[in-house]
């Protein structure tokens, strides 16, 4: 039998890929490219965020190659569609590391895609910069894991802090809170944080329920919340249900001093266009807003490039959510490689633990467990929203930052449910 070496298998796979004219791969621009591999959700439920993250990565790749690459080598991105299915992830990372022989690995978007890649990445002792994971490393405790997310190490103590800190400054201090969250990892952590901090601050929880992700009619749920007459309503929801909740709240004319908290969905351009004035005075968690306080070096240039191509690429047209973080994810890899000067995974991890990274989302430092050393959960409020026109979201004033103090760009308007 002819013995097939790893290299031969790699060549065979590369040849097959060329023959298949794989649109998902971009090829070397010169000799000996530096290859960064990852899986990305380009289809399935996570595809909207996955596809826009990929565009951000490609913009970074063009930028870095225009500057001469990294370590004198052009950068090549090698990525596969994980189809938003966690079961595909281990095989893809094994292929990236063993067949494609990539030099660095980064992650797809979200916890459910990051977690299945961890055993493979850990087995090969690779340095791993991930995108918007939530507490993944609590289980693995991998010392070469670095997560691009604002939540920090202790989600329970930090996630709902902005919501409750801002609430504490209301003219009439709130006494009661309702908590509603979808049954999934991130929303449950958000609800846990709201629960924990509410108890700490003496707020009475008058409603605390979860709902299955398949829920489509939220009218009965919101009627129950309305009947409890809470001062604050904290919702942990995901895009399809965020729309349903906000539409039901609008139809039922639900009012509360503050409504929102941990809703994922209103950050996305398509949702902003659909919901229009329903978003007015909504207060929710976010990670970026184009306010003067977040005008970090490079962010405008990135967003100009992103928005110029977003329509054609059929991705989120604003790039106001995770896209800057996807770009910054690659900046972290770039800066660490440039500082260390070689592909030494241990040295790269050491550098990432020790250094400050200057990125388009600000200066970042990683803590011991690979999360941001300083959490930066934003609490934003949609203000003066009269229609679904997206132009206003490109400028300051539509999504005002209320928390943290260091980035604050406006004052809270109450109550939720008031006309624009």
């Amino acid at each position: 039998m002819t013995r097939m070496t790893r290299r031969a298998l790699g060549r065979l796979a590369a040849g097959a890929t060329v023959l298949a004219a794989a649109p998902g791969l971009s090829f070397a621009q010169g000799s000996n490219p530096l290859r960064i591999g990852y899986s990305m959700s380009l289809s399935g439920g996570l595809a909207p965020n996955g596809r826009s993250s990929l565009l951000a990565h490609r913009i970074w790749q063009e930028d870095v190659n225009a500057r001469g690459g990294i370590l004198g080598r052009p950068v090549e991105l090698v990525y596969y569609d994980d189809q938003s299915s966690p079961a595909n992830v281990p095989g893809l990372y094994t292929k990236l590391l063993d067949v494609d022989r990539v030099d660095m690995v980064t992650s797809s978007y979200a916890t459910v895609m990051i977690a299945p890649s961890m055993p493979v990445v850990m087995q090969r002792n690779m340095c791993y910069v991930t995108l918007l994971g939530a507490g993944v490393n609590e289980a693995f405790k991998y010392d070469r894991y670095f997560n691009m997310n604002v939540t920090g190490d202790d989600i329970r103590a930090n996630y709902a802090k902005g919501f409750l800190d801002v609430a504490a400054r209301l003219p009439t201090p709130p006494r009661t809170i309702a908590i509603l969250a979808v049954d999934n990892e991130f929303a449950q952590k958000a609800a846990e944080s709201a629960r924990y901090l509410s108890k700490q601050r003496g707020l009475r929880i008058v409603y605390d329920r979860s709902y299955p992700p398949t829920t489509v009619d939220f009218t009965p749920t919101l009627r129950s919340i309305q009947a409890a007459r809470p001062d604050l309503i904290f919702i942990g929801s995901y895009p399809p249900d965020s729309n349903g909740i906000l539409r039901a709240a609008s139809e039922l004319r639900i009012t509360a001093q503050m409504f929102g908290g941990g809703m994922i969905g209103p950050q996305i351009a398509a949702v902003q266009a659909q919901l229009g004035p329903i978003l007015n005075n909504l207060v929710t968690w976010d990670i970026y807003s184009p306010e003067p306080t977040m005008d970090f070096p490079g962010i405008r240039a990135f967003q100009e490039k992103y928005r110029a191509r977003a329509v054609q690429e059929q991705v989120d047209v604003l790039g106001n959510y995770l896209q800057p973080y996807a770009y910054a994810q690659m900046q972290v890899v770039e800066q660490a490689l440039n500082r260390v000067g070689k592909l030494d995974q241990a040295a790269l991890a050491g550098d990432m633990h020790a250094s400050i990274f200057n990125t388009v989302v600000g200066d970042i430092r990683f803590g011991a467990h690979g999360e941001w050393a300083e959490p930066r959960n934003l609490l934003v409020q949609f203000q003066g929203i009269r229609d679904g026109d997206l132009e206003k979201y490109k400028k300051p004033g539509a999504k005002v930052i209320l928390f943290p103090e260091s980035l604050k760009s406006g004052e809270l308007r109450i109550p939720y449910g008031a006309p624009a």
Binding site: M1, R3, M4, T5, R6, L9, A13, A16, T17, A20, A22, P23, G24, L25, L42, S43, G44, Y79, Y80, D81, Q83, S85, P86, A87, N88, V89, P90, G91, L92, T94, K95, L97, D98, V99, V112, A115, P116, M118, P119, M122, Q123, A139, F140, V182, D183, N184, E185, Q188, K189, S210, P212, P213
Partner: protein, 327 residues
């Protein structure tokens, strides 16, 4: 059985040779050894992961074939049984710290009991009504898991597996070998069912259940044995899943892909024969894996759908049935 009967590959002649167990087991073990040695010679972990992906479908499709192929009872709940196995392994690990192999054994027991219970409750239903009941089972199980915090609930569960298991070169190799042995075992069990009285009884049920009962075939008992076997093997296919991915959430465990592939693979290979699901699983599994790393898009279920359409039109009895007809 009833109204909804499946196109099946013509049953192989039940010659005396059909009962020769030793040559089959020797051949199966020989093939398994060859596959393992070949992958070890390549020395690439990706081969193990791709192989695992295909072999889990060999087990799943073979399990489905015992009830769906031989007895003609179409089970839409494959993902539910598979997830039951996966979550049994997680619960066992969490409760006792026991690892993969005890997890597989426990999954087999839980899957068999679940299959037995489901069979007892639903086998009075026939045709599409039985199929709908199995679909409901998967939904009920998913709801239970989502609300069972001990195994992670909706958040999912982490399994931090060891990096290596002696004497294997990697955990991927160990997982592959375990799944390879499970596949050999599953196919062997299916073949044993096929060539024994149990299989002939199930085939009689498939052809005409009332007539079978009239001539003395103990239909309920045979069907219960088939559901228990089917459930046990499906759960066994799912037990290594959390160790494979390191993390499992209800959406991943109850994925539609498992249910669709479990039905499509035997139908394409040739339902009602032990070799049909193996051929279907290897063919479809390889195609899906190749599509994932070359065309790189969500073509998996698209491929399955088109293959099903093509086979229903061109070879309604699957690959085996097509070849047998041509002979």
């Amino acid at each position: 059985m009833s109204d909804a009967s499946l196109p099946l590959a013509p049953a192989p002649a039940m010659a005396a040779g059909g009962r020769r167990h030793l040559p089959f087991w020797l051949g199966a073990v020989g093939v398994a050894v060859l596959v393992f040695v070949a992958l070890r010679a390549i020395g690439n972990d990706y081969g193990y992961f791709a192989g695992y992906f295909i072999l889990q479908y060999v087990v799943l499709a073979t399990a489905w074939n015992i009830l769906g192929g031989y007895a003609g009872y179409v089970n839409f709940g494959a993902a539910g049984f598979m997830a039951a196995g996966a979550y049994t392994a997680i619960a066992l690990r969490k409760a006792t710290g026991l690892d993969l192999l005890p997890g597989i054994a426990a999954a087999a027991v839980v899957g068999a009991l679940l299959g037995l219970g489901t069979g007892y409750l639903t086998l009075r239903l026939r045709g599409v009504y039985f199929s709908i009941a199995t679909l409901c089972l998967a939904v009920v199980l998913q709801t239970l898991v989502v609300n069972w915090d001990y195994v992670g609930g909706s958040r999912g569960a982490y399994i931090v597996r060891p990096r290596e298991v002696a004497p294997f070169t990697s955990y991927g190799e160990y997982l592959f070998l375990v799944m390879l042995l499970l596949a050999v075992l599953a196919v062997g069990i299916a073949r044993t069912v096929e060539v024994t009285r149990l299989g002939r009884g199930l085939q009689a049920i498939r052809d005409n259940e009332r007539a079978a009962e009239a001539v003395g075939v103990p239909t309920l008992r045979l069907k219960l044995v088939a559901t228990a076997l089917c459930g046990a093997l499906m759960a066994v296919a799912g037990a290594p899943l959390p160790y494979y991915s390191g993390y499992l959430n209800p959406e991943g465990a109850f994925s539609l892909a498992y249910a669709v592939n479990a039905i499509a693979m035997p139908l394409i290979g040739g339902a009602g024969t032990w070799a049909g699901p193996v051929i279907g699983a290897v063919l479809l599994g390889s195609l899906q894996q190749a599509a994932t790393v070359t065309i790189s898009s969500a073509l998996n279920l698209f491929i399955v759908g088109w293959m099903l359409v093509i086979f229903v039109a061109v070879a309604p009895r699957g690959i085996l049935g097509w070849f047998r007809r041509r002979r």
